[in-house]
Each structure stands twice: as structure tokens, then as C-alpha cells.
């Protein structure tokens, strides 16, 4: 378990670095964020708020840099990410908490589907190398190289606007329905999730197919696979021997990809006006809501770190060599 301990140490250091970077960015950049913030708050601003903002961004304050840093950590450890300018007086934490389930539901499902389907197709492509699947690879590369959100825009134009098969935007029918545990609401949520999920799958599946195919080509040349076939084992067993040993990099890639998929899907959410993290991110940018922007950055970072840690456990469980190495 020394490996896990080492990885854990890395994630803790990364979290500290991310938090520190987050603290310093507003101080290193030109301009006065506190002034911008006050300009954006419509309602009356109390002197206390101004003082808090000055402390938060390190302007017009007599507190030393170290003192500001300690204050920042203190706030953070109490779960206080600040007040959202755009949703004033709501806190950043509450704004994020409302959006998070939407993103996790949509992106989580789409990522799992993409991984499972892509890996299976990759196995098939390797087993029948030189088949039509191989010729499809360059075309799939385009889907991977084109920005996720462009695929999403095309999907909206074609399947929602032109053909009318799916709703154009938002997470559920906001006009006719109220959120609740009714069948109408749940089916509306699912209905609105299909097209965004499909575009995320279309944008990410090629990576899984190519990765699995290339790794399979290597394991298929191993002696044990040849022997399995020579023994006359059924084809499914032979394929499973090769696939089982080829899947490890895909599993590790799965963990790394979670970070990339979350950040890629931010934009897909924006195209669909899906009420997840991506959508509040767009609002935060549009209204120069710095605390919300920084809060989103921290939340995503923590999510990625947690995903990585879980993946490390899974990897150590799947591959005995990792356990012995350290």
C-alpha cells in the first residue's frame, strides 16, 4: 500500500498547490477585482462587505500577505467559498451545490457508457484487425479532434431544431413542470439528458476504441493467448484472456479522463443550457463573478483528485504487480 500512500501524498500536495494558486491569481493579475465586484452588486454595499472583499483580494488592506493567506485557509476549511456576486446574497457553496447533481448525473453516465462501449468496440476492432472498424478510425478521430461543444452545437441543430426529436435546452421542462419526485418530472429529466449524453459519448468514444485496440494487438501476441487458442478453448474465452490483460491502461486512462471529460462537458452543458456546473461557470464569466469562478475551480480540482484516488485503489486491486512494486 506504499504506492497508495505516495499517490495520496501527491493529491494532498496538489490540493494545497491548487488552493494556493487560487489565492495568488487575483493578487498577481493587474486591476482591482474588489472594485469590479462592488460595481456588479446592485444592492447597497455595506462597509463590512467592502472590507471583506478587500481582505479577500488583498487590496487596500493592512493585513500582511501571510495573514491574508491564513484567513483564506480558515474560511475555506469552514466551507466558506465566499458570496456569489451574480446570485447575491447566495453563497458560492449553495450555488455550486444546486448545480452539481446535474453535472454528475449527466457526465457520469455518459462517461461510463463511453468507456464500456468504446472498450468493447476496441476489443472487437483488435480481434478482427483489418476489418471495417479499422477504416472507421480516421473518421472517429475527427469527432475526437473537433471540440466537444461543436459536436453538441451540430447535434442541437440537427436532432433538436431540425428533426425535433429532442428538446433544445435546459435540464427539464421548466415551463410546465416543477421539480419533484413525480413521473412527469423524472421522464422530462431523462428526455432532456439523452442528447447531451449522446454528444459526450460521440466525442470521447474514439479514444477508448483506439487505446483498447492498440493494447489488445500487443496482448494478442502473447504466448498464453496462443496456447489458449491452441488448446481449443472457445473463442470467447480466448478473447477474454487477451482483453483482460489489455484493459489495464484503459482503466487507468478512465481515471485520468474523468478530469478531462468534466472540463470538456462544461461546454456541452453550456450549449444545451443544461443547469450544471458548466452553466453556472458561464454565468460567472459573464458577470465577472470571481468568487464563483474560483469556487468552481476548487470543486472541480477536488473532484478530479478524488476520482484519481479511487482509480488508484481500483488499479491496485486489479493489477497485483502494482501492489508488489513499492
Amino acid at each position: 500500500m506504499r504506492l497508495i500512500a505516495r499517490r495520496l501524498a501527491l493529491y494532498i500536495v496538489t490540493a494545497i498547490v491548487a488552493i494556493t494558486v487560487n489565492f495568488f491569481i487575483p493578487r498577481l493579475m493587474p486591476g482591482n477585482p474588489a472594485e469590479v465586484a462592488i460595481g456588479h452588486m446592485q444592492s447597497t454595499v455595506t462597509p463590512q462587505t467592502i472590507a471583506a472583499l478587500d481582505l479577500q483580494y488583498g487590496v487596500n488592506t493592512h493585513t500582511s500577505l501571510w495573514g491574508q493567506y491564513v484567513h483564506y485557509w480558515d474560511q475555506l476549511l469552514h466551507g466558506n467559498l465566499g458570496i456569489s456576486f451574480s446570485a447575491y446574497p447566495a453563497t458560492v457553496a449553495s450555488v455550486i451545490r444546486a448545480a452539481l447533481p446535474w453535472t454528475i448525473g449527466l457526465v457520469g453516465m455518459a462517461t461510463v457508457i463511453s468507456f464500456v462501449l468504446g472498450t468493447l468496440l476496441g476489443i472487437a476492432a483488435a480481434w478482427r484487425r483489418g476489418s471495417w472498424l479499422d477504416n472507421l478510425l480516421p473518421a472517429m478521430t475527427f469527432f475526437q479532434a473537433a471540440p466537444y461543444f461543436f459536436v453538441a452545437i451540430l447535434a442541437v441543430a440537427l436532432f433538436a431544431t431540425k428533426l425535433g426529436w429532442f428538446p433544445q435546452n435546459s435540464g427539464y421542462d421548466t415551463i410546465a413542470l416543477n421539480p419533484g419526485l413525480s413521473w412527469g418530472y423524472i421522464s422530462s429529466v431523462l428526455d432532456h439528458a439523452v442528447l447531451p449524453a449522446l454528444t459526450i459519448v460521440a466525442g470521447s468514444i474514439a479514444g477508448w476504441i483506439i487505446g483498447m485496440r492498440n493494447m489488445m494487438l500487443t496482448t494478442m501476441d502473447e504466448d498464453y493467448v496462443l496456447i489458449a487458442q491452441a488448446k481449443g478453448l472457445p473463442k470467447r474465452r480466448v478473447i477474454s484472456y487477451a482483453a483482460r490483460n489489455a484493459i489495464l491502461p484503459s482503466v487507468s486512462g478512465f481515471s485520468l479522463a474523468i478530469g478531462f471529460v468534466v472540463s470538456g462537458a462544461l461546454l456541452t452543458e453550456i450549449v444545451f443550457s443544461y443547469p450544471g456546473i458548466g452553466y453556472i461557470l458561464l454565468q460567472a464569466i459573464g458577470s465577472e463573478d470571481y468568487p464563483l469562478l474560483q469556487g468552481i475551480f476548487l470543486i472541480i480540482t477536488f473532484a478530479v483528485l478524488a476520482a484519481n484516488l479511487i482509480a488508484d485503489f481500483v488499479y491496485a486491486f486489479l493489477d497485483p504487480r502494482t501492489r508488489q512494486e513499492a
Binding site: 487575483p26 442541437v156 433538436a160 431544431t161 501476441d221 496462443l226 491502461p249 478530479v304
Partner: protein
């Protein structure tokens, strides 16, 4: 010339080597040659085309991308002879925006790719060659940048940066490269580790060469395929990231790039209109996708150049049949050329590569450090 497919003399049992199946390679197999590979040729053609357009684009653009050509209409116009790619809502010429935006997008991506690859070589090779505490520190740094989500970090940076100033293309590329070097550095560190104890490196050290000289002239040349792959990947990453940042609006929307075109199209809900304004959002998105694809195709070529297994796997069944190769089980028998002739596969590979590279540097990743 003869092409031998994994024929194992021991398998026949009588000790006599069986007659080798002699095959004359015809046109089908020539596709395998690196510079003639269709994938690489397409990739090279498109890539060069894009770069040329990036250079001359703004000069051959029919209009100023910012100019509203008519103030009477608020509806985007479909492509016509006057405007080959139509107009936007405020009657700007889409083709001119595409050409102006291409220069910025490609410049940012190439700057990001160059700086990130330089950093990756610098950090990766140094860490791998010297090892010890330096390696631990640099690997830690690379790992931190690998797990930290890049796009949100860049959004925060540009969110603060571009409010007061309008950053130039070079500065944007520089900032993007900060988040793009870590993966390449890790791959190069691993390769350098495997080379550190090779005879030629050890002997260079024995005759008292400086560390930097060994790294530059003994190790780096053997890393070139990986450096090229790394560069291509970071350029693709740069295009995607820059487009995403502009699409979000964190980079000033009046700074023309393919991403800002998509930003304006999305703001005007071009895909949601009853009459879909496809000419507005399809060209920039397609351009990003095609540019990325062309680089990825080039990279396929490098991958196949490094890993002969992938190259042999690229032979379609029909091609194999036409070349007269016997149908074989898929397993255990990678087609290998034993006798090289003028048009053989082996002849297409100038110089032998170190065998450790042969596993597609960016295809299979090894998380253990």
C-alpha cells in the same frame, strides 16, 4: 524479394525448414511506406494548407471581419456569391472572420505547442537523466500539473487577466502551454530512464562529456519521435483549449478566433433558430476539427513508424489477400519482413529505432512512476 510471415521451422516437426512462401509485394503494400502512407499524406496536406492560410489568410480575406456591411438587416444571410460563407447577425462576412480567426488560432496553438514541448524536453530529460532528488521534485511538479484540471485553472487565470488587458496571441499561447507540458515530460522522463544506462551514454560519460551535452546529443536524438508526437499533441491541445476559452468568452470576444466565432453564433442561438444558420457555426467548428484531425493523422504515421505491430495491423484483409499473403489466425503471428528489398516494409524505416520505444508512447500509459 520475399516476404515471410511468421513461419516457424520448429512447427513442421521434421527439422527441415519448409519452403518459404514467396510473395511479390505489389502496390497494396506500398501504402505502408511512411512518406507514402495515405493517412500521413492527408495529414501533411491539410496541416500545411491550414498553416499557409493562417499566414496569408487576413491578406486574402474579402472584407474586414469587424465591418458591418449593411446596417439595414438584422438577419444572418445565407451563403451567396457576394459572401461565400454568408454573414453574421450584424452583417459581418463569415469567410473573412474565418480567415482572420485562423491566424490567431493556429498561432496560439503552435506557440503553446513549442513552449510546452520545450518545457517537456527540459524537465523530462533532466529528471530522467539525473534522477535522485531533482527527479523527485520535477516528477512531483509534472504530476501536480497532470492532475490539476487545466481548463478551469485557465478560466480563472484569463478571467482575471483579460479584464484589464487584452492579451496577445503569444501571451495566450504561453499561458496555455503552462498546463500542457506535463504529460510529455513524463513520457520523456520514462524514455530517458531507459537510455541512461545504454552503452553509448555510459561511454560518453566515461570520456568526461558534460551532462547537458550527453542529453542534447546522445539522448535527445533518440527521443525525436516522441518529441514530435508530444508536439503534435500539445498543438491539438492548444487549438482545443484556445477555442474552448474563446467560446466561453473569457478571452475578449472581439479578438477574432474560431472560438470567438462560435461564441457569437452561440450567443445569437444560431443552432436554435427555425432557419438554422449553419454557415455561421459550421465553418469554424469544422476548421478546428480538420486541423486537429490532420495533426492526429500525422501522429498515426509516427505511431506506426515507432511500433511495427500497428503498421502490420493496418493491412486490411483485402490488401493482404491481394498481396497473396496466406490467411492466418489472428493470434501470435505478427507479420514480419525478414528479407528487405527495395519496396519492403523494412526499407521504409530509415534507421533502426531503439526497441523500448516500440509501444506507442502515448497510446498505452503507465501510471506508476
Amino acid at each position: 524479394m520475399a516476404l515471410v510471415i511468421g513461419t516457424d521451422p520448429a512447427a513442421t516437426g521434421d527439422g527441415q525448414p519448409p519452403p518459404l512462401p514467396t510473395v511479390r509485394l505489389r502496390r497494396g503494400a506500398r501504402v505502408l511506406q511512411l512518406p507514402k502512407s495515405l493517412k500521413v499524406r492527408i495529414g501533411l496536406g491539410f496541416g500545411l494548407g491550414f498553416i499557409i492560410l493562417a499566414v496569408i489568410g487576413p491578406w486574402i480575406a474579402p472584407d474586414n471581419p469587424n465591418t458591418s456591411l449593411s446596417t439595414t438587416s438584422g438577419v444572418p444571410q445565407a451563403p451567396s456569391a457576394a459572401h461565400l460563407l454568408g454573414t453574421t447577425q450584424v452583417q459581418q462576412d463569415v469567410l473573412s472572420q474565418l480567415l482572420a480567426g485562423g491566424r490567431s488560432t493556429i498561432l496560439v496553438a503552435i506557440v503553446a505547442g513549442l513552449i510546452a514541448t520545450t518545457l517537456a524536453v527540459l524537465f523530462g530529460v533532466t529528471a530522467g537523466y539525473y534522477g535522485g532528488v531533482l527527479d523527485d521534485l520535477l516528477s512531483m511538479l509534472a504530476n501536480i500539473f497532470l492532475v490539476m484540471p487545466a481548463l478551469p485553472l485557465l478560466i480563472v487565470i484569463f478571467g482575471f487577466l483579460s479584464k484589464s488587458t487584452s492579451p496577445s496571441d503569444v501571451l495566450i499561447g504561453l499561458v496555455i502551454s503552462i498546463t500542457g507540458w506535463a504529460y510529455g515530460a513524463r513520457v520523456m522522463r520514462a524514455q530517458t530512464l531507459s537510455m541512461r544506462q545504454r552503452d553509448y551514454v555510459v561511454s560518453a560519460r566515461a570520456i568526461g562529456e558534460h551532462g547537458w551535452r550527453i542529453m542534447m546529443f546522445e539522448i535527445l536524438p533518440n527521443l525525436l519521435p516522441i518529441v514530435a508526437t508530444s508536439f503534435l499533441f500539445t498543438v491539438i491541445y492548444g487549438v482545443g483549449t484556445y477555442t474552448a476559452l474563446s467560446f466561453l468568452g473569457v478571452i475578449s470576444p472581439v479578438h477574432w478566433s474560431w472560438g470567438t466565432m462560435l461564441y457569437w453564433a452561440q450567443s445569437a442561438q444560431a443552432a436554435q433558430q427555425v432557419r438554422i444558420e449553419w454557415w455561421w457555426f459550421v465553418p469554424p467548428g469544422l476548421a478546428v476539427g480538420l486541423f486537429g484531425t490532420s495533426l492526429a493523422l500525422l501522429n498515426f504515421g509516427i505511431d506506426e513508424f515507432i511500433n511495427p505491430r500497428l503498421r502490420a495491423a493496418g493491412l486490411s484483409r483485402r490488401t493482404a489477400k491481394r498481396a497473396g499473403l496466406p490467411r492466418r489466425s489472428q493470434l501470435g503471428l505478427t507479420p514480419v519482413v525478414r528479407n528487405s528489398g527495395p519496396v519492403s516494409i523494412a526499407a521504409a524505416v530509415p534507421g533502426q529505432l531503439p526497441d523500448e520505444i516500440g509501444h506507442g508512447p502515448l497510446a498505452g500509459t503507465d501510471r506508476r512512476t
